[in-house]
């Protein structure tokens, strides 16, 4: 029995990856399985021997650290998507950054973000607040989910009326959504790497090439990510 190609993915990219992996399997006949957890959990697991073939982190730091600890193949360390931060709220009137910052100045409600130290989207959200001078305003009002998904759930279940989350999560939402321009926070570069323990380097590379192929990258745009330009790893 053939073991599937094991993909370990950070929570925010999971729904997108699910679909891409399905397409990949259909195209190549290589079975895949998707393991979802936070980047931190996956990182800890890989350091302790988790049998993953590709680690798709939500940030660049953790894959980098795996490489520097000789736990991953440095050749395979590449960016696969760039995240975008989005603001969502109940209020359909907020539709661009200016109205957003103005309303944030008046809106005293709670704001859900991902944990800044656990999730890159959380850090980006905090940077956005800092750069727009709202940090102090929201000091006591930040509700921190362990990852963007949880922050999104806080909003979606109605327990907060506004949240700063990954644009990918709100790709289908059209009202009350503002995509934060990327200059208001550090770039959210999501990188992947092939852990050293993987015995399926070849298949993993095939998947990576598929993921960074132009057509797939183009489709990421509608899913709320910026495509990445990858220098010729796959030639």
């Amino acid at each position: 029995k053939e073991t599937p190609l094991r993909l370990a993915v950070a929570a925010n990219f999971a729904p997108v990856l699910d679909k891409i992996a399905g397409d990949f399997s259909a195209r190549t006949g290589i079975k895949t399985s998707v393991t979802v957890a936070s980047s931190g959990t996956l990182f800890a697991q890989i350091r302790n021997g988790a049998p993953f073939d590709i680690f798709l982190s939500a940030d660049a730091r953790r894959p980098q650290q795996l490489v520097s600890e000789n736990l991953a193949d440095s050749d395979s360390l590449i960016a696969y998507a760039t995240g975008k931060l989005a603001y969502v709220s109940d209020n359909p009137a907020i539709s661009d950054v200016d109205t957003l910052i103005a309303s944030l100045n008046h809106n005293p409600g709670r704001l859900a973000i991902a944990h800044p130290e656990l999730a890159p989207y959380g850090r980006a959200a905090l940077q956005f607040l800092q750069k727009s001078g709202l940090e102090d305003e929201f000091a006591g009002r930040l509700v921190r989910g362990k990852n963007v998904l949880q922050a999104w759930q806080y909003f979606e279940t109605g327990n907060v009326s506004q949240a700063l989350v990954a644009a990918s999560l709100v790709a289908n939402k059209h009202e009350g959504k503002v995509v934060i321009p990327s200059f208001l926070h550090d770039e959210i570069t999501q990188k992947l790497v092939i852990p050293g323990s993987s015995e399926r380097h070849h298949d993993a590379m095939r998947f990576i090439c598929y993921l960074v192929s132009e057509s797939v990258q183009r489709s990421l745009k509608s899913a709320g990510y910026e495509p990445v330009q990858t220098p010729g790893v796959c030639r």
Binding site: S38, G40, F43, A44, E117, V143, Q153, Y154, N159
Partner: protein, 228 residues
């Protein structure tokens, strides 16, 4: 070395654990007593319902609690109208969540204890003209002491360690809902393993001492075989 945020978290955790255990004892005692007296075909159904909070993964349970706490659901609305605050992301919400999640640990040992109690001791109390409450507090409680200690120990330990529900409904707000389990989780997730080790060791040691005291206090209750 623990950072200063951890100290607040420790304090919050103790408050939560103490409150949850106390509330659970207050709730579980009458429930378990009533169950132990009730003879009906549906009893095992009720017992199963009480065990259900264990079945759902804490995060999922937390998710459903989150749905219930939302200001547009009726429990959330009711709470808002009575207390004027929202339940989610508040300490009260944590307490409610923990109580629900730990309910089986309190009810099950007490229920078993009460069913195993020799009711003739209560009849003795009745012939002494003791009131219901006196019989309960002076006969049932001491005879079932061990069960109360087990219930207390399990709920207390479980509340300290539980974080799935709390993480979900608490929103990880330092000083308000960031209990130590979450702080510890954060350290691990951030890869701050050194700090995580310190905090884990401290937490274990402290809880260990508390439990030692708790179980030590039950010494007398260890050998109460119903001799005569």
């Amino acid at each position: 070395m623990p950072v200063s945020g951890d100290v607040t978290a420790i304090w919050l955790t103790l408050k939560l654990a103490a409150l949850t255990s106390s509330i659970l004892l207050i709730i579980a005692t009458p429930v378990a007593w009533w169950l132990s007296c009730w003879q009906h075909r549906l009893k095992s159904v009720v017992l199963s319902v009480i065990a259900l909070p264990l079945i759902l993964p804490p995060t999922v349970l937390g998710f459903y609690l989150l749905l219930a706490f939302a200001p547009d659901s009726w429990p959330g609305q009711w709470w808002q109208s009575v207390f004027g605050t929202s339940l989610a992301f508040s300490f009260s919400g944590l307490v409610i969540g923990s109580v629900i999640y730990s309910l089986p640990f309190a009810v099950q040992p007490l229920y078993t204890g009460f069913t195993q109690l020799d009711r003739r001791y209560l009849e003795v109390g009745k012939t002494f003209n003791m009131g219901k409450f006196a019989r309960f507090s002076r006969i049932v409680v001491p005879l079932c002491q061990s069960y109360f200690f087990v219930a207390l120990g399990l709920t207390f330990a479980h509340t300290i360690g539980e974080f799935g529900v709390v993480l979900m409904i608490g929103g990880n707000i330092p000083g308000e809902t960031q209990v130590i389990a979450i702080a510890l989780y954060d350290h691990v997730e951030m890869g701050q393993y050194q700090q995580a080790h310190w905090l884990a060791a401290g937490l274990m040691l402290f809880s260990f001492l508390l439990l030692c005291i708790l179980y030590g206090a039950n010494r007398g209750g260890g050998r109460q075989w119903n001799f005569r």
